[in-house]
């Protein structure tokens, strides 16, 4: 049963090149019927099952709920769940708090995504160079990412509270109302917090991508007399374009699913819903107020929102690739 694996590992050590038709080399297994799919299916099945149970089934159930008047009951309770068509979606799309939460996420993404890409690429480039204490700096940037949000939120509350360190430093220039209860500033503060917290992860992605940028390109740029900025813009940025796509899409997905920060940092999406996110509203409606049907419709709308944004971002960041192809 392990033969296919052995034969696979006994190759030349190089990745099999695609054949002229663009198909992977199928002939390497000789004339025998390949058994890899069965073995592969076995290996994949735990994760496939995991996906099915914790993702596909709940997603299907969510879509079903979103078209019915539904609420959760005790086991054995005989309760009708009548079909209501698009009524839940109409409720969601006409709810001013939900609309505000999508606007908030828009503000959040406009700040968070460019800032994440810019800072993480710049920092990764800096940390890729031969710096003294490079390992220390790499760990330092990664530390907030692996630290519990709750602990970090406490620190930021201390920093940005009315009597916090930031306001003390600003003196008379401190905003009134203060940052976290200011309807204009609350969401930007949340966006900056999330950017800072997640930066370590994205720096790691870029660091990995930078290893695959050929050194010859930098040498050529140096020979051509390109300065550091020019080299960064013409060699590094195009060289990590795929990583930029990944970072952008991941930042959009994680940003759109924002919950912990407005829940803790701004007291449940305050002030007056100015930092409420769709997921926070989903939680309030579905769990606190026991309207899982409304929450399900909101969840479906959010999934569509994230998928659309991610596709747009992907098309935008990979546009030059297609032109070049």
């Amino acid at each position: 049963m392990s033969l296919p694996l052995i034969s696979r590992s006994q190759g030349s050590g190089h990745r099999p090149r695609p054949q002229s038709g663009g198909h992977p080399s199928r002939s390497q297994g000789g004339g025998h019927r390949p058994r890899r799919p069965s073995l592969g299916a076995l290996f994949v099945s735990p994760y496939a099952l995991f996906l099915l149970v914790v993702f596909a089934v709940p997603l299907g159930y969510t879509v079903w709920m979103s078209f019915h008047r539904f609420y959760f009951t005790a086991p054995g309770a005989d309760v009708d769940a009548p079909w209501v068509g698009l009524a839940n979606y109409v409720d969601v799309l006409t709810d001013p708090v939900v609309l505000r939460s999508f606007l908030n996420i828009g503000i959040f993404l406009v700040i968070n995504v460019p800032l994440t890409v810019l800072l993480s690429l710049t920092l990764a480039s800096a940390l890729n160079a031969k710096l003294p204490l490079r390992s220390f700096f790499r760990a330092a940037y990664y530390l907030p990412y692996v630290t519990a949000s709750v602990a970090l939120v406490a620190v930021w509350s201390f920093l940005f509270g009315t009597d916090g360190l930031v306001n003390k430093l600003l003196g008379d220039l401190a905003p009134d109302p203060s940052w976290l209860v200011n309807s204009t500033l609350a969401m930007p503060v949340v966006a900056v917090f999330v950017t800072w917290k997640g930066l370590g992860f994205f720096v790691m992605l870029y660091l990995a991508a930078l290893q695959s940028v050929p050194g010859e390109l930098y040498e050529s740029a140096a020979v051509d007399g390109a300065g550091r900025v020019r080299t960064f813009l013409t060699v590094t940025v195009p060289g990590v374009r795929h990583a930029t796509t990944l970072v952008t899409v991941l930042a959009i997905i994680t940003g759109s699913n924002l919950f912990t920060e407005p829940y803790l940092l701004t007291g449940g999406g305050g002030p007056d819903h100015a930092s409420a996110s769709p997921v926070l509203i989903l939680y309030q409606k579905g769990i606190e107020q026991a309207h899982p049907d409304f929450a399900a419709a909101l969840g479906v709308v959010l999934v569509l929102f994230v998928v659309t944004l991610s596709l747009i971002a992907r098309r935008f960041t990979e546009k030059n690739d297609k032109k070049g192809a």
């Binding site: 069965s38 735990p46 099952l49 959760f72 086991p75 309770a77 203060s178 309807s183 002030p271 606190e288």
Partner: protein
């Protein structure tokens, strides 16, 4: 072979997962007369846990075949969320000694509660123990799904040290009228005695109105509930006076717009708090405290003031398989003797009439709690209506926008909230 093995494993795992998710409900007819061990859930309040453990030990000693296991309500943002989740999962305790009346209609809709009227003498027990106030706890179908257990009449607790520092009389503070309350608050903040005069949570959770607007509205309106006969009662002159009073508190920064992470009065940041006697446990060893009724526009004496009860009930959950035992435990735990022990351990007021007479010796030894006991007879509950939580959320959203953050006039906010709540009640 491998394909078959993979398929078999997949099927097995799916079957296991399905079996794991399967839930069964007890047969109500059998459960009603069944006896045996039960589980009860208590709140995580340290004093209540002490009382609960003693009560359970006493019961278990006398009933070795019907033992109780006491646990704290599973962790959640609120007890209500944990209880709702347990109803859905079918693993609630038999009895919960911390059910919020605002959540009872929702639990009822989820088929999670057992009506206490189903037990012989059930209705009589609830009404005789609670007195006239029992009517506020009857559900819309006329049944009792909760035994009103204990109240925490909401009053103004204050720190005498802060009052003295601000040049105010700590023994006879002027806090009765809105004018007096605001004047005293200004002196506290301007003198630097405390950062805030009072610090209610300014956040938008649905239940926060129970600790600013609602007690003030009950006091100002002489004991009205938020809703009566399906109609909101607060878009009235009394409601508007209350909203404008609190708007002044926030506008003049006598109360901060930011939530305090913890207890502001215990931390010395606020000179007053608005809470029931449960909070005294946090202050009694560290703060020289006093208590007065919530203010009204004209000022009322303690005996004329009504307030919010902040009551918690005992409910029996439908997942209970030994309901006959659970009913006996409920009566045992809310007997006159156990109520006395509860009062002694927690300082919270059992939902019985004439507390001062019933537990005279306790109040003689603890005169600080006497005002709470006097107030306990004039407490008002949240309306027991379907859509209760939606209703409170609608009010809270308008309140934070207008009163806390000043985005609109309080009068308009109350009018809009009243309209929203009417719509919610009509939908249910």
């Amino acid at each position: 072979m491998l394909r078959k093995t993979g398929a078999a494993l997949l099927a097995l795992a799916l079957a296991g997962a399905s079996a794991g998710c399967a839930r069964t409900a007890p047969d109500s007819a059998k459960a009603a007369s069944a006896r045996g061990p039960i589980t009860v859930w208590l709140s995580n309040n340290a004093q209540e846990v002490v009382w609960g453990e003693k009560m359970v030990a006493e019961w278990n000693k006398a009933h070795p075949k019907e033992r109780i296991k006491a646990q704290q309500i599973p962790a959640g943002k609120t007890s209500e969320e944990a209880l709702s989740a347990s109803i859905i999962a079918g693993n609630s305790a038999c009895l919960v000694f911390n059910a919020s009346p605002a959540s009872v209609p929702q639990f009822q809709k989820q088929a999670g509660l057992v009506p206490l009227d189903d037990f012989p003498g059930g209705e009589r027990y609830v009404t005789s123990r609670t007195g006239e106030r029992a009517a506020q706890y009857r559900s819309e179908d006329g049944k009792f799904y909760q035994l009103p257990w204990k109240s925490n009449p909401v009053m103004i607790l204050y720190n005498k040290k802060h009052f003295k520092k601000a040049g105010l009389d700590p023994e006879h503070p002027k806090l009765s009228t809105y004018k007096d309350f605001l004047d005293s608050s200004r002196k506290i903040v301007r003198s630097g005695a405390a950062k805030a005069a009072i610090w209610p949570a300014p956040s938008s959770e649905f239940f926060q109105s129970w600790f600013d607007f609602y007690p003030s509205f009950i006091a100002e309106s002489d004991g009205k509930q938020l809703v009566k006969d399906g109609k909101p009662q607060f878009d009235t002159p009394a409601g508007r006076r209350v909203a404008n009073f609190w708007r002044t508190v926030y506008r003049e920064k006598l109360a901060p717009q930011e939530a305090f992470p913890g207890d502001a009065m215990a931390a010395g940041k606020s000179a007053m708090t608005i809470a029931g006697p449960w909070a005294v446990a946090a202050y009694k060893d560290s703060i020289d405290w006093g208590v007065v009724p919530v203010p009204t526009s004209e000022g009322r004496s303690l005996k004329e003031t009504s307030t919010f009860s902040d009551e918690k009930s005992v409910s029996m959950f439908s997942a209970c398989r030994n309901r006959a035992t659970a009913w006996d435990v409920l009566k045992f735990a809310t007997s006159k003797k156990q109520d006395g022990a509860f009062l002694k351990d927690t300082g919270q007021m059992p939902m019985r009439p004439d507390l001062l007479d019933e537990y005279r010796s306790y109040f003689e030894k603890n005169p600080g709690y006497k005002k709470y006991a006097e107030q306990a007879d004039r407490t008002v509950e949240v309306p027991s209506v379907a859509g209760s939580i939606d209703m409170w959320q609608a009010l809270r959203d308008r309140w934070t926008a207008s009163v806390v953050f000043g985005r609109e006039r309080p009068e308009g906010a109350l009018r809009d909230a009243s309209r929203d709540i009417s719509t919610i009640l009509d939908e249910y």
